[in-house]
């Protein structure tokens, strides 16, 4: 079962759900940035400077969280997002490498 915040366990991750999460250009941009960043990088949602409202931003991170792509955690007053790299690499080998190698050109 997903945890109370909606993070699925690795065995609950579904490739189609992950691909759907990645199919949105803004969400793809977030994952491509995290996949190219050093391991264990944590960033706030706002740090990605996506051109959307706060509620839309919240929606996009919920989709990312519920697909299993990112883990969100509170650090003091900040909510941080990190790629679930090790679990994703184990569950869907090569997927994050593909995303890291195919950075969006239009951002």
């Amino acid at each position: 079962m997903p945890d109370p915040e909606g993070h699925p366990a690795p065995e609950e991750m579904d490739l189609r759900t992950v691909l759907h999460a990645l199919a949105d250009p803004l969400r793809y941009q977030v994952i491509a940035a995290l996949a190219a960043a050093p391991e264990n990088t944590e960033r706030t949602c706002a740090s990605f400077a996506l051109p959307v409202s706060k509620s839309t931003l919240t929606h996009h991170f919920r989709v990312l969280r519920e697909s299993g792509l990112v883990q969100q955690v509170d650090r003091g007053n900040s909510r941080m997002a990190a790629l679930r790299r090790a679990e994703l690499d184990a569950r869907f080998p090569g997927l994050l490498d593909l995303v890291a190698a195919n950075q969006p050109l239009d951002h």
Copy 2:
């Protein structure tokens, strides 16, 4: 440039476009079936028995064709679809293996 039927050249294939094409459950089902089939398998669109109208079926295969996932070719009276396996493997290594390894459970 894509050919007159909308097939992109390998260097024109875009991972986000491919992921978008795969994010639909019916299109995923088609690609998962082709990815698990012997190399150079050609099938008619109708052979996938998708529960949609002919115009919707045509739409889904257009999305698959324009993303680069499938090649469509006329054989006599039949229009056949085949996975562009070699080109996809070269362009996005591991992607089709992931899809073949993650068959839909609900079909």
